[in-house]
């Protein structure tokens, strides 16, 4: 875990002290300097690629080259299964800047702020995926006060505890998939993985957010009790929030808008279904260009489509009935959503043939 390596701690301490000491206007330069040092230590020559992409993104006329290069590199790394340090996150952040500048959502970009945004180390390991305007404002207003340091340290401690005391213990159960032979055992492993992936991933986010907080920089939240979601749409509003917001803004909405201009205009349900499937195939591919991740993405796209259809087609007299929004139905919704999400993790956690065997065991159809 990079966060607990002393090289990272030393770099971050250096960053924090300089950030605290320098006048406010030089703070982006401090974040860039220490972020670049972090990249040099952990990614070596790849730092030059990151710098080149940042510079191409900065020059508006070159930004289309940056966009193509970013997507091509991301696809290449995902295919080779060796993604350099945090590139998946960096790629989506750069594409956000490029697309928002084209849309007019970001009017001006300063090189200092952009480099600080690109090289900001805490969020580069496992997110969250930042937004440029919010990040620049957060750095501008940052106050590394004792209150923020205390709150940040508590959040880091919370994340570390989640990772080491819960996620890492649960992760031991995954090894049991090598000799699983019964339905009950298969379900135990999959439920353990379901909790483990949430605890592990959200722990990384906690630490990143906590590190930012010690500097007084507020980073976006990435998880909000996702397994308490009442339906699959709400799940994606609580799980990896910054990724779901990114695909909502740059894939789902544009895809829906484009489809609305075609003959499908008369079939809004078809538009929603296609948009969901496309969006979540991209989400799956973002995690890795393997059949398992793609299948997981398509599965979630299908679940969201199904939920959309059911919601649209539910007669008014049912939707308006007090029972429809009762506590019992909400609880059933939470349980059912958790179950659906948990089943979806199977192709995510195991190679496809093993995933198929695990699913067969779970549903008692394994011979």
């Amino acid at each position: 875990m990079i966060f607990t390596e002393l090289r990272f701690v030393a770099l971050f301490l250096g960053c924090w002290i300089s950030f605290y000491l320098v006048p406010r206007k030089y703070r982006p330069a401090v974040l860039t300097f220490w972020g670049a040092a972090f990249y040099l230590v952990y990614a070596g020559p790849f730092s030059a690629v990151v710098l080149a992409l940042a510079l191409l993104t900065f020059f508006r006329r070159m930004s289309w080259i940056a966009a193509i290069a970013t997507v091509a590199l991301l696809a290449y790394f995902k295919l080779s299964l060796l993604v350099p340090l945090g590139f998946s996150y960096l790629a989506f952040e750069l594409l956000h800047v490029i697309l928002e500048r084209r849309r007019g959502g970001i009017e001006s970009v300063s090189l200092g702020d952009l480099l600080a945004f690109v090289f900001f180390a805490p969020a580069r390991i496992a997110g969250p995926i930042k937004r440029y305007p919010q990040f620049v404002a957060a750095v501008r207003d940052a106050e590394p006060s004792s209150e923020n340091v205390y709150a940040g340290l508590l959040r880091i401690l919370f994340g570390l505890s989640k990772k080491f005391f819960l996620a890492d213990i649960l992760s031991q159960t995954l090894a049991e998939s090598a000799w699983v032979a019964s339905t009950m055992h298969a379900w135990v492993i999959v439920f353990a993985y379901s909790l483990q992936i949430w605890l592990d991933f959200s722990a990384y986010s906690d630490i990143a957010i906590g590190l930012g907080r010690t500097l007084g920089i507020v980073l976006p939240e990435n998880f909000r009790a996702p397994y308490l979601a009442k339906n699959i749409r709400e799940f994606w509003e609580r799980w990896h929030i910054t990724l779901s917001q990114w695909v909502r803004d740059y894939v789902f909405t544009p895809a829906g808008r484009w489809l609305f201009g075609t003959r499908l205009r008369r079939l809004p349900i078809a538009i929603a279904v296609i948009s969901y499937l496309l969006t979540f195939t991209i989400v799956g591919a973002w995690h890795g260009l393997t059949p398992g991740f793609l299948l997981w993405g398509v599965y979630h796209g299908a679940l969201l489509s199904l939920y959309h259809v059911v919601r649209v087609k539910t007669p008014g007299w049912i939707a308006d009935h007090p029972w429809y929004d009762s506590r019992a139905v909400r609880l059933a919704g939470v349980a059912f959503t958790f179950l659906c999400v948990t089943i979806g993790w199977v192709p995510f956690m195991l190679p496809l043939p093993k995933a198929a065997r695990m699913l067969a065991l779970m549903f008692g159809i394994h011979r």
Binding site: E5, L6, R7, A10, S145, S146, E147, V149, Y150, L153, F164, F165, D168, I169, Q172, T173
Partner: protein, 319 residues
């Protein structure tokens, strides 16, 4: 908030002062006690702390015997006290026997660990199996650069290692946390919790009678190599074996290589020559275990473990 931060720092410093004392007590109980010593889980985690302890405590009241090998010597499916090393401990109460076998351990790992602890032990039992060294080893024990190249291992991250060493000098808990975990649990805390997750539930139930192991038929035997030959190092396994024997001879220690034999047709001229060349410091013993004495054709049942240990003890006692 500043007061809280100062208070936390104060407590961290206060707790840290007790760590060396606590570690000393826990390690003495764990490594010098009378109960059977085996890693709680058959993984490498506790190997590093064992090596550190033995290196830090070369003086010892009891004869130290260390076993290296794979799941066979670890005692796959057996209780710690049923494995070969623990059975030998029962027969040699004057010795402290350490079962440092780990699933999949090969001769390269045994050699590198033996190099580190040779001054702190008296007898090594090394199972002849494979020749590789575990890639995680350099992060656990000191490994020389020449050995890194020889066994194709990655060097530990130098900067990180140096920084850990610096920090460890001022922060005991940081330096000793692996050793504390190994002394407390025999493995990492997370693996220990995982392995014992059902204990509270089991404690509430009535004790289940353990299933009896099948009765065994056949006899375990030891034998010296039969045919004379000449010392050879034509492959890496033999080179490691020769190097380890030379190491034992240079340090006036004894290393016993155990070759498990499942059928009785081994050609072992090289072993006979090896024994002649390195006596009395190194010796190869061929252990014949009929497959009928195992539960899966390879792993020993408690009775055959005891038989192997008895044969080893008898062999050591012979003039």
């Amino acid at each position: 908030m500043k007061r809280r931060l100062v208070l936390i720092l104060f407590w961290l410093i206060a707790i840290d002062q007790a760590v060396p004392f606590l570690l000393e007590r826990l390690e003495r109980r764990h490594y010098e006690g009378t109960s059977a010593f085996r890693f709680e889980n058959s993984d490498l985690f506790a190997l590093g702390p064992l090596v550190q302890y033995l290196r830090d405590h070369p003086q010892h009241a009891h004869r130290r015997v260390v076993f290296f090998g794979n799941s066979m010597l670890f005692g796959y499916f057996l209780k710690p006290e049923e494995a070969v090393p623990a059975q030998l401990q029962k027969l040699q109460p004057d010795a402290r026997v350490y079962n440092a076998a780990v699933n999949g351990q090969e001769l390269g790992t045994s050699y590198l660990v033996a190099k580190d602890i040779i001054d702190s032990v008296d007898v090594l039992y090394v199972q002849i199996v494979g020749a590789h060294a575990n890639p995680l080893l350099p992060s656990l024990i000191p490994v020389e650069d020449s050995d890194l190249r020889r066994f194709d291992l990655d060097a530990p991250k130098r900067v990180e290692t140096r920084m850990e060493s610096w920090l460890g000098r001022v922060w005991h808990l940081y330096a000793d946390n692996y050793r504390l975990q190994a002394a407390l649990f025999g493995t990492s805390t997370r693996v220990f919790v995982y392995m014992h997750k059902k204990d509270p539930l089991n404690a509430l139930r009535l004790a289940h009678p353990r299933e009896a192991w099948p009765a065994i038929q056949g006899e375990v035997s030891l034998r010296a190599p039969r045919k004379p030959g000449r010392v050879s190092d034509w492959n890496e396994q033999l080179r490691i074996k020769n190097d380890l024997a030379a190491l034992a001879r240079a340090h006036h220690k004894r290393v016993v290589f155990l070759e498990f034999e499942w059928t009785n047709n081994a050609t072992d001229g090289e072993d006979a020559a090896f024994n002649a060349a390195y006596a009395p410091y190194a010796e190869t013993i061929i252990v014949h275990v009929p497959p009928a004495l195992t539960f899966d054709g390879q792993h020993l049942v408690p009775a055959s473990s005891a038989a192997v240990a008895a044969a080893l003890a008898k062999h050591e006692a012979a003039p």
